[in-house]
C-alpha cells in the first residue's frame, strides 16, 4: 500500500495536553516537520517556556531544555555559544517573551544570537488562567482586566515583530497566523526559512505565530479562529518585517 501521510519524526508519541481547538499543537507539528525536512533533528536543541507549552520538552523528538519563565533566549545563548553546531530554538508565549522575558529576547536579537525563536501570541496568559498579557487587545476581557483592557490604565499591546525588526542583527522577522489552512502553510514556510537562515549562520531569526486560546477567550474552537482573524490580525498585521539574506 502506498503511504500518503506519516506523522513527522520530529514529534514523540506522547499525547499532547493542549485544550481542544488550541493551535499550540499545530505549531509544534510545523516546527517538527521543518526540523525533519532540514534533516537536523539529531543536532537540534529546543527550549520550552513556562506557559501552556511547558511540556514541549516531552513532545519534540530532539534534545530539550525547560527554561525559567522568560529566560529561554538566555538559555539558548548558553547552548549556542558552547555548541555552535546545534540548531537551537526557543518556543515562547506572549507572557514569557513580551513581559517577563522582554530583556532576554531583545538582547538575544541585539547580539545576533544564531537561534530561532517561535513566539506564540495568543493575546492572553493561558496557563495561569486567562490573565492580561502584554499583547491583550484593547477592550479584550481577561481575568485581571475584567472590564476589558483599558488603554488609559495599561497602555497598548506590544507589537514584538515591529520592535525586533529595528534590530540590525535580527535577520529574519515574520508574523504568521493559525486561523486557516492557507495561513498554516505560509507559517510552515516561514518557520522553515528561519531555521534555514540559522543553519546558514546568518543571525537571529524570529517567527511570531498568532494563535488561539479558546479556553480562556471563552469561545468554541471555530469562534476562536474567527476571533483571531477579525481582531488580532488588524492590530498584529501578518507578513515579513525583515529578511537580511546576506547579513553575516
Amino acid at each position: 500500500m502506498k503511504t500518503v501521510f506519516e506523522k513527522t519524526k520530529g514529534l514523540t508519541d506522547k499525547e499532547l495536553h493542549y485544550c481542544p481547538g488550541c493551535t499550540h499543537g499545530i505549531i509544534h507539528r510545523l516546527i517538527a516537520e521543518a526540523l525533519e525536512e532540514l534533516d537536523v533533528l539529531d543536532v537540534a536543541a529546543g527550549i520550552a517556556p513556562v506557559g501552556c507549552a511547558v511540556f514541549a520538552y516531552d513532545y519534540f523528538n530532539c534534545d530539550m531544555y525547560e527554561a525559567a519563565h522568560g529566560r529561554a533566549p538566555a538559555v539558548a545563548t548558553g547552548i549556542k555559544r558552547t555548541t555552535p553546531d546545534l540548531v537551537t530554538f526557543t518556543y515562547q508565549g506572549d507572557g514569557d517573551l513580551a513581559s517577563i522575558g522582554a530583556a532576554e529576547i531583545v538582547h538575544a536579537a541585539g547580539r545576533g544570537e544564531k537561534i530561532t525563536t517561535i513566539f506564540v501570541n495568543n493575546a492572553i496568559y493561558g496557563m495561569t488562567g486567562g490573565q492580561m498579557a502584554p499583547t491583550t487587545l484593547i477592550g479584550q476581557k481577561a481575568t485581571t482586566a475584567p472590564r476589558g483592557r483599558d488603554e488609559e490604565h495599561t497602555g497598548m499591546p506590544l507589537r514584538m515583530c515591529e520592535m525586533l525588526a529595528t534590530i540590525p542583527k535580527a535577520v529574519y522577522v515574520e508574523r504568521v497566523a493559525m486561523h486557516d489552512i492557507k495561513h498554516i502553510i505560509q507559517a510552515k514556510k516561514a518557520i522553515k526559512k528561519a531555521f534555514q537562515l540559522q543553519i546558514e549562520g546568518k543571525g537571529f531569526t524570529f517567527v511570531e505565530v498568532l494563535s488561539t486560546c479558546p479556553t480562556n477567550w471563552g469561545k468554541t474552537p471555530v469562534e476562536a479562529l474567527e476571533w483571531l482573524e477579525r481582531n488580532m490580525i488588524p492590530y498584529f498585521p501578518i507578513g515579513n518585517f525583515r529578511t537580511v539574506e546576506e547579513g553575516k
Partner: protein, 355 residues
C-alpha cells in the same frame, strides 16, 4: 613554577581557565569586575567564549544552557547580582547542572556599599532561591587558597552534578598575594551522558528539566537529591584549626576574618591567654562535627564567632555547640572589617580579663 604576585579576582579567573573552564557569562559589578575583564581577554586564547550578559538574570540562565550542553562554565558577581541570580541557581540545582558561581561579597542590604562583607552567608548556605536544595559553598582566606578551591570547585560540581559557590569578599578579590598555580589532585569524574548536546544519531533525546507536576514525583526527586547532599556532607567537609590545644576560648571565623582572628590569637598568647580558631573552609557542608567535638572538651570555656556581618554563621555554630558552651558573637557590618585589637578585647571580656 615559582610564586607570582596575583590580584585575587584575576587569580580566580586564571584558576578557572586552568581547571578547563572555557565559558564565562557575567554582568559588571564592583568589586569583582577584574574576573570578567580577565576572562574577556583570556578565554578567546583557549578557544572559549566570554560573553557580557544583559543582566545577572541572563548570565545565570546562560550558565544553565551552557552547562546543560555539557560545558565547564562559570559566572561571577557581587551581592546584589547574586540576589538576581537566585531563581536561576534554584533551577540549576534542581536540574542538577554542574557549574561554578563566584560571589565577591560586598556590604548590604540593598545597594549597600562596595567594601568587603560576609553578610551573604545566609543566602549562600540556607537556600537563597526557592525550594529544597543546597549549594556546596567554599570560602577561601587567601588568594592562593582561592586559586586552589576554584579549581577543585569544578571537579566537585562535575562529580556531584551540583552548582558550587565560591564565597569570597571584596578584600580577597582586590588584594595581591603570591600565588603558585600547580595542578590539583585529579578526581575520577563521571561522563556527562545526561548533557543535551544533540542526539547525533547515537542516543534518545536528553531533557534538562526541573518540573515535576505530580507531588509524589517531585518528592522522590528531592529525596534523591538529598541523598547526594548527604554524600557531600560525608566527604567534602573542609576545615582548618589553629592553636586549639589548651584553648579556653575557641574562635570560629571564615574567609578574611579568620586572618584577623589568628593575629588576635597570637597577640593573646603573648598576654598569656589561650585562644584557638576553627576555620570552616566549606561553609556548606558545615564542619559541625568538629565544632561539636571541640565543644565537648573540658578545657574549652566558650566560643566566639567573628564575622563581617550582624551574625549569620553564628547560628550554625550555636547549632553545632548545641548548648554545651556559651557562644558569643563579634561582628562589623556594612563593609567594615574587624580589628585585631577588637577581637583581642572580646576574648578578654569573655575570660574576665582587664581590657
Amino acid at each position: 613554577m615559582s610564586k607570582e604576585l596575583w590580584k585575587g579576582n584575576e587569580a580566580i579567573a586564571e584558576a578557572a581557565v586552568r581547571a578547563g573552564c572555557k565559558y564565562f557569562f557575567g554582568y559588571p559589578i564592583t568589586p569583582q569586575n577584574e574576573i570578567s575583564e580577565y576572562m574577556a581577554s583570556r578565554l578567546p586564547e583557549v578557544g572559549g567564549c566570554f560573553l557580557q550578559a544583559e543582566s545577572e538574570v541572563a548570565s545565570i540562565n546562560m550558565v544553565y544552557g551552557a552547562s546543560g550542553a555539557g560545558a565547564r562554565v562559570m559566572t561571577s558577581s557581587s551581592s546584589p547580582g547574586i540576589s538576581l541570580m537566585q531563581e536561576g541557581i534554584s533551577y540549576i540545582a534542581a536540574a542538577e547542572l554542574p557549574c561554578v558561581v563566584v560571589n565577591i561579597v560586598r556590604g548590604g542590604p540593598g545597594l549597600g556599599g562596595i567594601q568587603p562583607a560576609q553578610s551573604d552567608y545566609f543566602q549562600a548556605c540556607k537556600g537563597g532561591g526557592h525550594g529544597d536544595y543546597k549549594l556546596v559553598v567554599l570560602a577561601p582566606n587567601s588568594v592562593q587558597e582561592a586559586v586552589d578551591l576554584v579549581q577543585e570547585a569544578f571537579d566537585i560540581a562535575d562529580l556531584y552534578r551540583t552548582p558550587v559557590l565560591v564565597l569570597g569578599d571584596g578584600m580577597i578579590g582586590q588584594m595581591m598575594e603570591p600565588v603558585e598555580f600547580y595542578p590539583i589532585p585529579k578526581r575520577e569524574l563521571p561522563e556527562k551522558n545526561w548533557a543535551a548536546d544533540g542526539t547525533r544519531g547515537k542516543r534518545p533525546p536528553n531533557i534538562i528539566n526541573s518540573l515535576y507536576l505530580k507531588a509524589e514525583e517531585c518528592e522522590i526527586e528531592n529525596l534523591r537529591r538529598y541523598e547526594k547532599y548527604a554524600a557531600i556532607q560525608k566527604s567534602e567537609v573542609k576545615c582548618e584549626t589553629y592553636n586549639l590545644e589548651n584553648a579556653e576560648v575557641v574562635c570560629v571565623a571564615y574567609g578574611m576574618t579568620s586572618r584577623v582572628v589568628s593575629n588576635a590569637i597570637d597577640t593573646l598568647e603573648k598576654a598569656g591567654i589561650n585562644a584557638g580558631l576553627i576555620r570552616p573552609v566549606s561553609l556548606w557542608p558545615f564542619p559541625s562535627g568538629i565544632i561539636a567535638e571541640v565543644a565537648a572538651l573540658p578545657g574549652v570555656k566558650a566560643f566566639l564567632t567573628v564575622e563581617m556581618s550582624m551574625g549569620q554563621m553564628v547560628e550554625d555554630v550555636r547549632l553545632a555547640v548545641s548548648g554545651k558552651k556559651p557562644v558569643h558573637f563579634y561582628g562589623r557590618t556594612g563593609g567594615m572589617v574587624p580589628e585585631v585589637s577588637a577581637v583581642v578585647n572580646e576574648v578578654k571580656r569573655i575570660t574576665g580579663e582587664e581590657i
